[in-house]
């Protein structure tokens, strides 16, 4: 909670990522209707919502594909709204995409190496050791092909691969998708640890509202492409609307 206190102490501090008034369209269909979100340094921020609310669209809009039609996305003081994806992703933002998307025929090692493809070689050994410390499972499986890993291991690999690029901001799109509760817990524990020990800023898009809100410092609730609620994780967990809409029977 130290991060939250820090933010509370200096509310004017410039956020690491700020999304303001963003509208995104798929052809004629409007997916985002003026979204405002701020992620401060050292925070874990989560975005929850139902299927089709536009959570992943927001994530992808931040990454520049599709691009926002109106509004501004500012990262680290720079306007990244119109930049192509590869330029955005090489600015110390890393993403673990929806559905994990590990490279199936490449080994765990090669997948991790791909994460560091834009980085200086001299960091590689250290970063690799760190990832293997976070996910000892990946070390055991280092010679195995990505496609042959279990779902949980693939998620670990996707996060590990994202971490190999030494990000300041980690974007996670539904890391709990299709995983057993125990594995979800493990992965969320690692996210918490990364945030606590290294001050990594995390923006987490989740369906699993209970776990996400417990993990996050702050959260946003998205309905039909617009933010309807915002607050600290605890506040949102306590809200009746959130409980009834997203937590009925979901708290395991």
């Amino acid at each position: 909670m130290s991060a939250a206190e820090r933010i509370a102490a200096q509310p004017d501090a410039e956020p690491l990522l700020s999304v303001s008034g963003v509208e995104t369209f798929y052809g004629k269909i409007q997916a985002l209707r003026g979204v405002d979100i701020e992620v401060h340094r050292g925070e874990i921020v989560t975005l929850i919502g139902a299927n089709g609310a536009g959570k992943s669209t927001l994530m992808m809009t931040i990454c520049g594909n599709p691009q926002a039609r109106t509004g501004r996305i500012v990262y680290n003081g720079k306007d990244i709204t119109g930049l192509p994806t590869h330029d955005i992703m090489s600015m110390a933002i890393a993403q673990s995409p929806e559905g994990r998307r590990v490279f199936p025929r490449m080994t765990v090692m090669e997948n991790l190496q791909m994460g560091a493809i834009l980085e200086d070689d001299r960091y590689f050994e250290d970063d690799l050791r760190k990832v293997f410390e976070l996910f000892p499972r990946l070390k055991e499986r280092r010679g195995q092909r990505g496609g042959t890993l279990s779902g949980g291991e693939q998620q670990m690999l996707a996060i590990g691969r994202a971490l190999m690029s030494r990000p300041k901001l980690l974007l996670l799109d539904e890391p709990s998708l299709g995983l057993a509760p125990l594995v979800v817990k493990q992965i969320f524990e690692v996210i918490r640890e990364l945030n606590a020990s290294e001050g990594l800023t995390v923006f987490l898009v989740e369906q699993n509202a209970f776990h996400a809100l417990r993990l996050a410092h702050r959260g946003y609730v998205m309905v039909n492409g617009a933010i309807t609620m915002a607050g600290t994780g605890r506040e949102l967990l306590a809200r009746e609307e959130v409980r009834s809409a997203y937590l009925e029977g979901g708290a395991h």
Binding site: P97, F103, R105, M106, M114, L118
Partner: protein
């Protein structure tokens, strides 16, 4: 129960087959639990080995005993003599049986030799061993041919040159299709660009092969980029169609731009390559004159053979190096998942363009070699069937596998030639049988069989480009400095 399994198999997602194959492949690293094979009885073993030996003899002596050609008045005469053949097989069978049954009773000679080889190359993957053997054979082939098959060496060397040209083309296309996963049906366009660049430069500006070779590669790479730009957003089927069209456009332009390319008449009088200015011909200033050896037309073939071998090896070397560099790894990642690539900050545009350009460059090299070997080129040599053959080599060999391309080239190009010469089949199907007519049928059948038996190509294993080496010398745990968390 029955309908549960049925619905489970019906529900299998697309690619489940491939996944399970992957899984098996991944598990291959661990030694599987295999029961020790039951010892064959001595009789069975002796029979088995006798059978193998007899089979070998049957194959080896087929063209010496079974069918024999003799010089007769007005050409060659063919005598079919099955009896000598059968006797030879029977003798070896009995001999081997007696030897195994009585003399080699205590040991297993048939396995011993392999075990020794296996022990010597332990830790080497099988692909590397095969690769090393093939490389050795390729390097010494002209000499092997002149020593062992002097009567046919020219023909066989020519065939070897052809096969190597396709190996090179296959390796070039392997970059685009196998590594980067961009289905290119118009690869022959770059082959044509390379051939015509060299031919036009050589005939119009009087430039030699070695000067034109890099230029031809460069032009082809340029065309690779030109093709790459408009098709960057396409993938899979759509990309295939556009590249197919591109290949045809190049051919049609070559055919119709009469004043520049000579149209259907092609280009004649393309110079032969020289060795540091030494020509391979009779007379003063030639290769044989300079080294004081007797002139023989085979010398030029050997020279051409080594040129294409060097070019092919260069292609392989560059590809293998590239695979370990970021750009090569990005190619492979692009094949696996384009969206994941972009999320890692990779500029997929550049990655695709480099793949197209590199592949096209090697196609261009191969093209200018083709032009210098033939001495004559015309648009007829660059039809769609060429693209199809090259693509078939890559797919049959196993996408992305360098060794697979070699094996597939030998099987396909060598196989087509072999079928052309199988007049021996007339003994079975009657004299009216013309093997050249059934060539393509047999060939197609063989391809179907390979695809049924090995749906992902002859060599479907992919060797990883990165291996984790743990630093044992001084680990963090030995230094014991508090890390502060």
């Amino acid at each position: 129960m029955a309908d549960i399994t049925q619905s489970a198999s019906a529900n299998r997602p697309e690619g489940a087959e491939r996944l399970s194959e992957d899984r098996r492949e991944a598990m291959r690293g661990e030694p599987p639990f295999v029961e020790a094979p039951a010892e064959d009885s001595r009789l069975v073993r002796a029979l088995k080995e006798a059978g193998i030996t007899a089979g070998l003899i049957a194959v080896l002596t087929f063209f010496f005993f079974f069918m024999k050609t003799d010089i007769a008045v007005g050409g060659l005469s063919l005598t079919v003599d099955p009896w000598t053949w059968f006797v030879a097989i029977a003798i070896t069978f009995v001999g081997r049986f007696l030897l195994t049954f009585f003399v080699f009773a205590g040991e297993r000679p048939a396995v011993g030799g392999w075990k020794k080889i296996a022990a010597a190359t332990a830790g080497w993957p099988i692909g590397k061993v095969v690769g090393a053997v093939l490389l050795f054979v390729a390097l010494t082939l002209p000499f092997l041919l002149t020593i062992f098959l002097p009567s046919q060496d020219r023909y066989l060397l020519d065939l070897a040159i052809l096969i190597l040209t396709y190996v090179m083309l296959g390796w070039g296309l392997n970059i685009v299709v196998g590594l980067a996963g961009l289905l290119d049906l118009g690869y022959v366009a770059f082959y044509a660009v390379g051939a015509y660049s060299f031919a036009l430069l050589a005939t119009n500006f009087d430039l030699g092969f070695w000067v034109c070779l890099p230029m031809a590669g460069l032009f082809a790479a340029l065309w690779g980029v030109m093709l790459g730009f408009p098709v960057l957003r396409l993938r899979g089927d759509y990309l295939a169609i556009v590249t197919l069209a591109f290949g045809e456009i190049i051919r049609v332009v070559l055919l119709n731009w009469y004043t520049f390319t000579g149209g259907p008449n092609g280009i004649l009088g393309i110079p032969k390559p020289t060795l540091f200015g030494l020509e391979f011909s009779r007379g003063k200033g030639s290769f044989s004159d300079f080294f004081g050896i007797e002139y023989s037309s085979i010398q030029r073939f050997i020279f051409l053979y080594y040129i294409i071998l060097a070019l092919a090896l260069l292609t392989n070397f560059v590809t293998m190096r590239m695979r370990k560099l970021p750009v090569g790894r990005a190619w492979e990642a692009l094949r696996e998942d384009e969206i994941a690539c972009r999320s890692l900050g990779i500029n997929t545009t550049n990655v695709k363009l480099t793949a197209f350009a590199t592949g096209a460059m090697f196609g261009g090299f191969a093209g200018s070699f083709f032009a210098t070997r033939q001495g004559f080129i015309s648009p007829e040599s660059f039809t769609f069937i060429e693209s199809a053959i090259i693509l078939a080599i890559v797919v049959l060999g196993g996408l992305g596998s360098q060794l697979g391309v070699v094996i597939a080239s030998v099987v396909m190009i060598g196989g087509i030639e072999l079928l052309r010469n199988l007049t021996g089949l007339q003994a079975i199907f009657g004299t009216g049988f013309d093997p050249t007519q059934y060539r393509m049928l047999i060939f197609g059948l063989a391809m179907v069989l390979i695809m049924v038996w090995k749906p992902r190509g002859l060599v479907s294993t992919r060797s990883p480009s990165a291996i984790y080496k743990e630093k044992k010398a001084i680990g963090a745990d030995l230094v014991a400095q508090g890390e502060g968390h």
